[in-house]
Every structure is written in structure tokens, then in C-alpha cells.
Amino acid sequence: MESIRQIFEQLFGYEWGGMLYTLATNITFISAIIVPLLLGVAYLTFAERKIIAYMQIRVGPNRVTFFGIPWLRGWGQPIADAVKALMKEIVIPTGANKFLFILAPILTIMPALAAWAVVPFSAELVLADINAGLLYILAMTSMGVYGVIIAGWASNSKYAFLGAMRSAAQVVSYELAMGFALVCVLMMSQSLNLGDIVNGQQGDSLLSWYLIPLFPMFLVYFISGVAETNRAPFDVAEGESEIVAGFHVDYSGMAFTVFFLAEYANMILVATLTAILFLGGWLPPLDIAPLNMIPGFIWLLLKIAFLLFFFLWFRATFPRYRYDQIMRLGWKVFIPITIIWIVVLGGIMQLPETVRGDFPLNLWF
């Protein structure tokens, strides 16, 4: 690494060379995150189709294969889908606002990918180890709604606009509950740094994970995450049977695929964050010999896969929520629960240590 830095410094001078070296290494690290992520997205769509198919006693995609290898049948499906989407024309409706119409998918995928910058994959593997990591993620995910709103407006279509309005109201209401659930995690860990949050859950077994003391918050966070990503049963923004396909009804080809990618990248992000915040991130469930030999990265992947399965399971089993029920769940159920839990947790933190016992909390002041 140091020799590459010296080459840069000789080429561009000391100061600019150093800066450009940082830029080049960062771009390398960013691609090391984004390329596997996009592959994960591709195979998540495949997993979704397969899992839902088996739940509905079907087979799912089982044709496209690589080089005619029979036992890989179906595994080529995401690649074939991607190629199909690339070949298709991007139709821009006549009445649409061209600039915003193209901008909307970009604005959707940007925060979905940018949030990954602060996600720690193991104790050392993190791109940006910043102090305010949790806040950064909240800020990035809250920007995702712009893509949906702009897409709905720029399409100049009533269905798209209705979808955008529904999505905006839904995301804004669930963000509050999500934020409050994160405040509870913050109170437990006393740090906004995601790595420190995982380290705060270190212990002998999974009993020290935040899942145990914050179980209601875990449920609230995960369900709000499902709602934020506009997934079933909260997919009123798309609602095929009501408003055709909602905000992306007028999109085709690659522009549509970018929305699709963003949705699945967001799903993986929510699953990853839930794993990091509540399920101990890269920590093994039991700190004993065979389990803690496995690298932390594998544990994190397993937890993400476990949580992602729930997303697919929800979609296969639950009917879509009615719009007023979604609003009620967000405002009248989740927000009161989270606020009460914050007060309870604050009360426990103020208890003297003799009463509180081993409850994993200590005070700032």
C-alpha cells in the first residue's frame, strides 16, 4: 500500500498525490462493497422467486442455466433478467418531466448504496468508521423517499402520483418509530458508532445481544424497516391491484430496474442493520470453541440471510394492509410503544447499580 502511495506522490506532488491516493483506495473499497451487494441483490430476487414458489407449492424459475450444466438450472435467471432489462427501451412518456423522470431512479439508488459506507462487516472491516454512524444511516435512508415522490410527480400520471403520495406518507410516519427504536439502542450502547454498538453486545452468549432487553424495539424496528422499503404487506405504494404499479408504472427497461435494485438493496440494508443493532452483528451466538472459530463476517452473513428470509416469508403469507391500517399501526401503535420503552429504559438507567444488577447499562454522568 505504501509503495502505491509513493507512486501517487511522485506523479502528482506530495499534497495532491496523497489526496488522490486516498480517493483511489476509497474507490477500490467502495467497489469491494457495491459489487458483492449488487450480486446479492440479483440472487435475492432469485431466492425470493424460489422461496415464494415453494411456499405456494410451485417450482419457480428452473430453466436458465450456465453452460448447460443441469444442476444449475434456474441459477442463471437473475443474469438473464438483467440482460433483458438492459436491452429494453427506456420509454419516456410525452407529458413527463424528462429531467426529473430520469433523476428519480438515480435519487432512489444513491442513498440505498451510500448508507453502506458506515456498515461494519467485522471488527476491522468498515469503510468509514465515523462517530455518528447511526445518524448517518438514518439520514441516508430518509432521503430514499425523494426518488419515489419525484418519480410519481414527473411521470405525470394519476396512478404514479397516488403511489408517490402513499409512499411519502408511509415513509414519513414509520421513520419516527424507527428513529425512536434506534434511540433505545443508543441508550443501551451509549455510542452512535455501529462498531461500538456491536462491541457493546459482546458477552458469553446471545443473551447479551440487545435483542433480549429491547425485544419490542427489535420488532418495531424490523416491521418499520419492512414498511420503509415498501415491501409486502406494506406495499401500498405499488399496490398492483389498486394503482397498477404505483410510482413506477411509467418506467421501463433499465430505469425500472434501478428502482428494483434500490428496493432490494434497501431490504439487505435493513436486514444488515437489524443484525448489527439487535442480533450482535459479527458476534457468534455462543462464545465457545467451534463457533467462535468461524470468522465474524460469516456470522453476519448468516444473520442477514435469516432476516431476509422473513421479508420473503411476509410477502408470501400476508395480505396487503389497508391504507388507514398502515397509518394506525405507525402512529397509534408503534410510536406510543417506543416512547414508553424509552422512558422505561431511562428509568432503569437511573436506578442505583445495586438494584439494577447486571443490566448492561452505565451512566454518562
Binding site: L100, M143, I149, M165, A168, R328, F365
Partner: protein, 201 residues
């Protein structure tokens, strides 16, 4: 000019351009989106000052929540541009006067003795484990706790007032009793009829 200066001038240019755009573009939706851009670039400049909590909160609160609702309203309005421009010259002197007063006030602060460049040098770089979130929290809940609580009460009063102003009881409105819906039992809704299997002859 080092890299930080370059970033500062880049963000400043974008910020000023987008802020100008907010008041000059004709389409109100563009105007709202340019305001979003202004907030984001402003957050970038704050990050250069190592005020990461304020910068991210600016994005979180203003971009993530306030502007979404703003855009929500602007998109649903049917704005007639011709009508809006009608009274421009009539109100120009008053608007100009207000703008002039504001410029003078800002100049008095910026070039005065308290906020000039000599008085306000660039902040010292802090250690890596310094968290200004923690520092802000400590100050807000100890030294400035009364001001903080007052601001909170003020916001609460404003919120209740806004709700009270728009609240109206309609006689003919139809509402759902959610508790009733949730507590419904299978026996009340469903009747299972046993039928003889029929066969076509």
C-alpha cells in the same frame, strides 16, 4: 489551494447557485428540490467544520422530513404563475426594503467585531474519539436545560394550536372503530354449511 479548500469552494458554489435558483426558477417543484440541494451542500460545509452531528441532523430533519412534506404540498397545488406575478411591481418596494434591512443586519454581524474572521478562527481539529454529539447532549441537558425545555414547550404549543385550528367535527363523517374490527370473532362472521356433494348426471 489544498483539497479541503477545493471542497469548500465547490460546495459554496453549489450552495449559492442552488439558493439563487430557489427564488428564481419558475416551477415551484424545482424550487423545492433546489432547496433540498442547498440543505445537502450546506451539511457538507458543516462537515468541513467537524460539526458532524449538526450536519447530519440538518439532512435528517430538513431534507428527510420537512422538505418531503413541503414537496408533498407543492406538488398538489395547482399554481397559476401568471396570477402570482401580477402584484410583483406593486409589492417590490416593500420587499426590497425588507431585503435591504436584512442585508444590512447580516453585514453588521458578519463584519462586526464578534464574528469577523479574526474573531472566529477555524476550529482546532479534535481528537478522533471526540464526539460532538455527546458534547452537545451534555450542554443541552445541563447548562441550557431551561432554554431547551422552553423550546420544546413552544413547539408543542405550536403543534397543538395547529391541530386545534384545523380540527372540525363533521356530523356526516364515516369512521371505523378499529377495536371493533380487531375484536371480531370467527363465529360472528363465518357460517360453515355442510352440503352434500353433488354430481352431474
Amino acid at each position: 489551494m489544498n483539497f479541503q479548500d477545493f471542497i469548500f469552494y465547490f460546495f459554496s458554489t453549489v450552495l449559492i447557485a442552488s439558493a439563487l435558483g430557489v427564488i428564481t426558477v419558475r416551477n415551484p417543484v424545482y424550487s423545492a428540490l433546489l432547496l433540498v440541494l442547498a440543505f445537502v451542500t450546506c451539511a457538507g460545509i458543516w462537515l468541513l467544520l467537524e460539526a458532524e452531528f449538526l450536519a447530519i441532523t440538518l439532512v435528517l430533519v430538513y431534507v428527510g422530513a420537512v422538505m418531503v412534506l413541503f414537496l408533498f404540498v407543492v406538488m398538489m397545488l395547482d399554481i397559476n404563475l401568471e396570477k402570482l406575478k401580477e402584484g410583483f411591481w406593486k409589492w417590490f418596494p416593500l420587499g426590497g426594503l425588507v431585503a435591504l434591512v436584512m442585508v444590512v443586519e447580516i453585514a453588521m454581524i458578519m463584519f462586526g467585531q464578534h464574528f469577523s474572521l479574526e474573531e472566529m478562527p477555524a476550529p482546532e481539529p479534535k481528537a478522533a474519539d471526540y464526539s460532538n454529539t455527546k458534547e452537545l447532549g451534555r450542554l443541552l441537558y445541563t447548562e441550557y436545560v431551561y432554554a431547551f425545555e422552553l423550546a420544546a414547550v413552544l413547539l408543542l404549543v405550536a403543534m397543538i394550536a395547529a391541530i386545534a385550528l384545523t380540527l372540525r367535527h363533521r356530523e356526516d363523517k364515516k369512521t371505523l372503530d378499529i377495536a371493533k374490527q380487531v375484536n371480531v370473532k370467527k363465529t360472528e362472521r363465518l357460517r360453515i354449511v355442510s352440503m352434500q356433494a353433488e354430481r352431474k348426471k
